[in-house]
């Protein structure tokens, strides 16, 4: 008798959904989570953003990064990829901006053709396949947004709650966009605007992205931790083994997976949990790391890797892309949620009125700098450096003069869609192991030239919006540079119909091993210019349904 019907490795956005769906339908589940169960959070920028980086424990996987043509010896060690390690995973600290992909996003190759130097492909599913699971994510996770949904989406829908109220920065961004004939709208967000499902509404406290929701408003930010894990625990079928780091997925003599070998971090001992099926939901770095570290006699190139695609096609979004404006009067842009308004008119080339020399695009979303310390810059900070205009002194009177304008700025962030490339990959690095001897990761990544063209285009359009809104100063940051990491991790176990060219099918079942599933950002075929988590939730609902109805 195995210990459980299913073992889930990683209890983040996807793992939490799968745990709840399986346990409330009578399956027994053991969840292995590398981080702890998070305690209460607060609104402290030093604790959450500067020193701890992501409110909960940022991961401790050793990383190195290199560009094409560089040897492992030339790789740079550092912290590049930002994901949380705790029950709830990165959904605890995320910005919570939620999108349904457009129909074209599932068919990028058919819509926009092949591209030299890229590995663009269609997803094996269409928007219509995922639509019922987007609906479930919106109602069961708890997402607020505008009636009608996303204005450039051919489908139209409603959210279970009104969108967040307009802020001054949102008003400025909306007015600028409207003047240019664009269609600004309120960002759909995993933020409660009314009491919902026993959880309190948002207080618009301004400490949202990179923070867990603070104690007195806990639950107002919808995520896997508050919307999924409690029901799983209440089912009586769920055991959480937190602070346990998966080392390998075990394989039996028939080539099926039989459980997981893990390190119990509390005492450093190695333990085994057995199950009839294994769901790997680390993220697009940790999932391929685990599969490739699980190489065995049966699977010498790594588990589920007969295609050679595990770890490849890594996508980040152009996560560094930032556009700023300063206004004569205060905007108090730090108040409210992370994103108040968005513009989708540059999300894909066929939404753009002119000929462009790229095949992707980006959502433009208002963001917020939570606190002055984050404006001033700190080497410890996410994609560090400050957010002040280029040329601002880093110290002295000139620096403090700029800091006194902190409340007059507006910040927009653009998750520019990067195209998949086979050479962009994550590989285990046996020469750079963690404290339990598990190989860390070596990431090889370069942006395709088209990514930079798309980035430059959307940055210029955003600057025009700010100018139309009456900004006194406009600047950008993070452009023109190859990405080394991200908080949006996608693509490294791509889904597809052909086992020679993909790792999993559309349900996340690996082509090679019928009782092994992958669900997180890894199955994404292309990255889309939208925050990925609503799609991760939707895929997780769909994978869980497949497991409990078809696999069992």
């Amino acid at each position: 008798m195995p210990d459980a019907d299913v073992v889930i490795v990683g209890l983040g956005a996807a793992g939490g959904v799968v745990a709840r769906e399986l346990t409330t339908n009578g399956l027994s589940v053991v969840g292995i989570e590398a981080g702890p169960m998070p305690g209460p959070h607060d609104q402290d920028e030093l604790r959450n953003v500067i020193d701890a980086r992501l409110s909960n424990t940022v991961h401790d996987t050793p990383e190195s990064y290199k560009q094409y043509g560089q040897s492992s010896e030339e790789a740079t060690e550092g912290k590049f990829n930002l994901y949380g390690r705790c029950v709830g995973g990165s959904s605890v600290h995320y910005c919570g901006v939620m999108w349904r992909l457009l129909p074209e996003h599932f068919n990028m190759r058919s819509e926009f053709g092949d591209l030299d130097g890229a590995n663009v492909a269609d997803w094996p599913i269409d928007y219509e396949d995922l639509k019922p699971y987007y609906e479930r994510a919106e109602s069961e996770i708890g997402i607020s947004g505008p009636d009608g949904g996303q204005p450039t989406h051919p489908d139209s829908w409603s959210y279970p709650m009104d969108p967040v109220p307009e802020t001054r920065s949102g008003e400025l961004f909306r007015q600028g966009a409207e003047q240019l004939g664009l269609r600004p709208f309120t960002s759909p967000q995993a933020v409660l605007t009314e009491s919902y499902d026993g959880r309190p509404p948002c207080t618009y406290c301004g400490h949202c992205c990179f923070y867990g929701c603070y104690e007195q408003a806990q639950g107002a930010k919808s995520n896997s931790l508050v919307a999924m894990i409690p029901e799983a625990r209440d089912s009586g079928n769920f055991e959480i083994r937190d602070e346990c780091l998966a080392k390998t997925v075990l394989v039996d003599s028939d080539g099926r997976v039989s459980g997981v070998r893990y390190v119990d971090k509390s005492d450093g001992t190695e333990q085994t949990v057995t199950a009839d099926a294994v769901v790997v939901s680390g993220n697009a770095i940790e999932t391929p790391r685990l599969l490739l570290n699980s190489a065995s006699e049966q699977y010498p190139d790594g588990l589920a890797n007969s295609s050679g695609q595990v770890g490849r096609n890594l996508m980040f979004h152009m996560d560094y892309t930032q556009i700023f404006a300063k206004f004569e009067n205060p905007t108090k842009q730090n108040r409210g949620t992370w994103s108040n308004k968005a513009v989708d008119d540059f999300i894909l080339p066929n939404r753009i009125d002119e000929d462009v020399d790229f095949i992707t695009g980006s959502n433009l979303q208002l963001a917020s700098v939570n606190a002055p310390i984050l404006y001033g810059g700190n080497w410890k900070q996410l994609y560090a450096g400050g957010k002040t205009p280029p040329g601002t002194p880093t110290w002295g009177e000139g620096f403090l003069e700029e800091m006194s304008d902190f409340e007059n700025i507006v910040w927009v962030w653009a998750p520019v869609e990067d195209v998949p490339r086979e050479r962009n990959r994550v590989q285990p690095d046996p020469n750079n192991t963690d404290e339990w001897g598990i190989p860390g990761v070596e990431v090889t990544y370069e942006n395709h030239p088209q990514d930079f063209r798309a980035q430059e285009y959307v940055v210029e359009r955003c600057k025009e919006i700010f100018e139309a809104a009456g900004a006194t100063e406009v600047w950008s940051a993070g452009t023109g540079t190859h990405h080394r990491g991200s908080s949006h991790l996608m693509g490294t176990c791509r889904m597809g119909r052909d086992p020679d060219e993909s790792v999993v099918d559309s349900f996340g079942r690996t082509h090679d091993v019928e009782n092994l599933f992958v669900v997180d950002g890894s199955p994404f075929v292309t990255s889309a210019g939208y925050n990925p988590t609503e799609t991760i939730y939707a895929l997780a609902f769909r994978t869980a349904e497949e497991i409990r109805t078809e696999w069992v």
Binding site: E45, D51, T57, V58, Y204, C205, K332, R335, L400, R484
Partner: protein
Amino acid sequence: MTEHTHLDRRTFVRLASAGTVAAVAGCGSSEEPTEQADEAPTDQEGGPQTDSSGGSSKPEYTFFDDEQAATVQRLVDRLLPAGEDWPAASEIGVVRYIDRALTREPFYETAHDDRRFQDAYDSGLAKLDETAQSMFDSPVRELDAGQVDELITGVFERSAPGWENVPTASALTMTVPAEAFLTVLRDHAVEGYYSQPKYGGNEDLAGWKQAGYTGPFIEGYRPDELKPPWDSMEDHEQRKRRPADLYGEGGESDA
């Protein structure tokens, strides 16, 4: 050797700190007069002391000795100097913030642990003194404002003697070599100016006021507070509660 000077400086620092404590206590529920008494100069009762941690009173700094504290004060007050509408760094506890940051337990297992910069501070401050000696024939703490600015500029630009080959911090890898000492000090100063007062800086929320920032409230912000007209920080404070530990465990004063 220079015991006399040493003592004077320590006394000065303690006097400054006593004023500091009073200022903090005065900004909220001023209920801890005994703290002030503890912090008052005590050189009369204990006789001359050469070791800053050897007195019966609570030492102002845990990590810095008096000369180091004076050096850091001189530096942070040029990194973040007083303006017409705002105080200089050391006036709102930034030196104390840095001293505590260098001895603070990390928030989480995988959070940054600034205790690893202790050696960088010890050697970096000594090295800056050497550079100041070679440039101006004086230690940092005795330089005038223009000289400190020249020193800082020379170090940041890698033109000051001895600093030509010091590596720089990398924002992309989110790492900083300990030798990039002044970068660490600058970032620590900004942390001290703008982080919650419970960590030792941002006294009286003066850093937040400098940036026009009203800070966190348990009640957050109502929809009508997301747009102008803007209420003042005092208006918000009158009708809302601050996070209980904003000023530290004991309430308003954590000095």
